[in-house]
Amino acid sequence: VSTARRAAVQPAGGQVEPDTVRLRRHAVATLLANWRGSSTVPTAALYPHQWSWDSAFVSVGWAHVSTRRAWQELRSLFGGQWRDGRLPHIVYNRSVPEDAYFPGPPFWRPLPPDGPSGGPTPGVATSGLVQPPVHALAALAIADRCPGGAAPDDVRHLYPRLAAYHDYLFECRVVRHGLIATVHPWETGRDNSPAWDDALAAVPADTDGVAAMRRDLRHSGRAHRPTDVDYARYVHIAATYRDRGYLDESLGSLPFCVVDPMFNALLVASELALAEVADRLEMTAHRHRERAHALSAAMQQHLFDSALGLFVSVDARRWRPRRVRTVGGLVPLLLPDLDGGQRRALLSTLVGPAFRVGSAIGRGVPSYDLTAPDLDVHRYWRGPSWVSTSWLVWRGLRQCGETELAALLSRSVVDLVARAGFREYFHPSTGEGLGARDFSWSAALVLDLLRARSAEEEARPR
C-alpha cells in the first residue's frame, strides 16, 4: 500500500505549518458534515434549520471550498425572503420535526400571506424577525473568490434581493436620526448581551411553561445559555410582534425596540458592499453609497460614548443609551469614514483591560467587558468570545489599516479553535470551548482567516 505523500508546495517565503493544514481540513470536514443539501445548519443537533447571519458567515467559508456551494447557501436563504423584503432570521427545514427546535414554525403562524401584505412564498416556513445584514459583505467576498471575477448569474440573482432586504431595513425599521432599530434581541444576533438588559427589564417575564418549551437545554449546559426569564421575555416580544401581524408601524410601541451599533455598522458595510456589487453589474450604486454614509454619520453622532471609548446601544422606546462595553460597540471599526478620534478611542478600548485584544492573554474578542462586575464568562453573549464577532472586528482592524493588531487577533482566534475545536463560543480568559461543537461559522470564518494569512505570507517579499 502506498505510503507516498503528495508533495507539499512551500508558499514563497514561509513554511507550511502542519497545524494549519490540519485545521483547514477539519474546518472543511465540519462544513461538509453540516451541509443539508441546499444550505448549512449551524450545528447538527442544537440548530437544525438555516439561520440568516450564520448562512452569510458560512458562505464566506464555503467560498474557499466551492463557490458553487457558497452561492447556493445564500440563494436558498433568500428563497425564504418575504415579499416586503424582510429576510427571516430562520428558514425552516420542513423535513425536520416541527418541535425539534423552539420556536418552531407553528410559533410564527400566521405569517402574512404572500402578496401585498408581504409574507414568504407559500409553503416556505420562516420566522418573522431579521438578523444582522452581513449578506452583501458575504456576496462580495464570494464574488471575489470566483475565477475570472464575479459569477454574474448568481450576483444578478442576489443583487435585487439584497437591495430589497436593505430597503426594508431603511424604510420600515428607521427610528430617530435615521438609525435602524431591531425589535427583538434575536435580531441583534446576540440574544442575551448586557447591551439590552435595561430595555428587557421592562418586558413581562411569565416563565410558566418556558422550561418545557426550550429545546436548547437538551444540547447545552444551563449555565452556558440564556435563562428562563430571558426566554420568557423573548417569547413575549416575538408573540407581540407576531400578533400585530409583523407590522412595523409605530416601532416604539413594541415591547422591545433597540438601536444596536453592530447591526447598524453592518448595514453600512453591507450597503457599501452592495454598491460595489452594483458597480460590477454596471447598475447605479449612488443610493447605496448615500444611505451608507448618512447612516454612518448618524451613528458617529448619536451612538458613540466617548467616556466608555466605544459605541453603545440605545433603547429607542425611551431614547436612553445603555452605557456598557460590549463587542457590538467595537464593530463600528468597519465604518469606512470613521472619525479619527473615535477610531483611536475604539482601538484603545480594544487593547485595554476590557477586551485585551493583541495581548499575550487575548482570546479573540470577548463579548462583554472583562472588567464588568456582572461578567459571566460561560454564558453565551455575556462574556464568552465568539468567532463571528471576532472576525468582524478583525475585518474592521484591517479596514483601519491596523494590520499588525489584526494579525494578532487572527492568530488568537486560530489558536482558540486549534486548542478547543470549532466550538460555538469560548471562555474569554482560558479559551475553554463552550456551547455546541462542530459549529459551522467557527469553521467557515477560520477558513477565511487562514486564507488571509497564507495570502499575506505569499505576498511577503522573500
Partner: protein, 268 residues
C-alpha cells in the same frame, strides 16, 4: 497547499507505445498513467513492455480491470478465474512498482433496474461471494505490497455494490489494510446523495479515486463540482491518485490538458 497526483488511463493518450503516451501525458500535466488490465493473463503478457516503460521512468501507479467476468460472477468457474486474473494483475503491479489494482464487483452482469429485476442470487450470498473473493485477493495484495480497491458502479451497471459506503462495509468486514475503496465520480454522481460527504464518510478506507464528469466525459465537460470534491478529498486526508477514466469531448490534445488545468485550478 497540496498538489494532487493525477493520472490518465492509457487508452485516452495518443501514441503507439507507453513511452509515447507518457511523453504526451507529462506535457499535458499528468503525473502518471493508469493501465487497463485484460483477462486471459493478457496483462501478465505485457510484463516485458511494462518493465521497459518503467526503465524509462514511466509512472504507472494503478491499473483497472478490463474483463468480461468479475470477482462477483454468478458462475463459480468464472468467479474463480476472475480472482486468478486479478491476483496475477496485482503481481504485475508489484513487479513494476505500482500501488493500486482496481476491480468492480461485476460490470454488466445484472441490474435491478432492468428486466428481469430479480437477480438469481440474494444479497447475503452476494456479500459472502465478495468477501471470499476480496479476502483471497486482499491477502495476496498485502503480500505483494499493493492495494486491491473495490469500485462501486452505478445501479444500471451492477446490482451488488453501488455506493462508497457499501464498498466500505465490505472493507470493514474484512479489515485488511490492503482491501480498500475506489471512488469513481461518475458513478457517485448517480448514487451518492452528497458525493462530498460520502468521500469524507469512507476516508478510512479510500484507496483510489477515478475521475469522470457527470456525463462520463473528462472533468470539466459536465456538471460535477470539482472544487468541492477535491476539497472533500483533502479534508478526508486522501493522499492517493486521481485517475481519469472517462471519454473525451474532443481531441485528446485539447481535452486532456484542459481537464488537468481545470482540476489544478479547482484545488487552488
Amino acid at each position: 497547499v497540496s498538489r494532487w497526483r493525477i493520472a490518465c488511463q492509457e487508452q485516452l493518450l495518443p501514441g503507439s507505445t507507453l513511452l509515447d503516451k507518457w511523453t504526451f501525458a507529462e506535457k499535458a500535466g499528468f503525473d502518471g498513467i493508469e493501465l487497463r488490465a485484460r483477462g486471459d493473463f493478457g496483462f501478465e503478457a505485457r510484463l516485458p513492455e511494462l518493465r521497459e516503460a518503467r526503465a524509462y521512468a514511466v509512472s504507472m501507479p494503478s491499473e483497472c480491470v478490463e474483463m468480461s467476468h468479475f470477482i462477483g460472477a454468478f458462475d463459480e468457474a468464472l468467479r474463480k478465474d476472475a480472482v486468478r486474473q486479478v491476483a496475477s494483475q496485482i503481481s504485475v503491479m508489484a513487479a513494476i512498482g505500482g500501488e493500486v489494482a482496481v476491480t468492480p464487483a461485476a460490470y454488466g452482469m445484472f441490474s435491478r433496474r432492468l428486466p428481469p429485476f430479480e437477480p438469481p442470487r440474494g444479497p447475503e450470498d452476494d456479500r459472502q461471494v465478495l468477501l471470499d473473493s476480496l479476502g483471497e485477493l486482499g491477502e495476496h495484495a498485502r503480500a505483494e505490497g499493493v492495494a486491491i480497491c473495490l469500485e462501486p458502479l452505478n445501479r444500471y451497471e451492477d446490482h451488488m455494490v453501488n455506493t462508497l459506503d457499501a464498498a466500505a462495509q465490505l472493507c470493514r468486514d474484512l479489515d485488511l489494510p490492503s482491501v480498500r475503496v475506489a471512488a469513481d465520480t461518475y458513478h457517485m454522481n448517480i448514487e451518492e446523495a452528497d458525493p462530498a460527504a460520502a468521500l469524507l464518510g469512507v476516508s478510512a478506507w479510500l484507496g483510489h479515486v477515478q475521475l469522470s464528469d457527470s456525463n462520463r466525459l473528462e472533468p470539466g465537460a459536465g456538471h460535477v463540482d470539482w472544487a468541492l470534491l477535491l476539497a472533500a478529498l483533502d479534508a478526508a486526508h486522501y493522499d492517493g491518485w486521481l485517475a481519469l477514466e472517462c471519454r473525451l469531448s474532443g481531441p485528446p490534445e485539447v481535452a486532456l490538458p484542459a481537464a488537468v488545468s481545470r482540476l489544478r485550478q479547482a484545488s487552488r
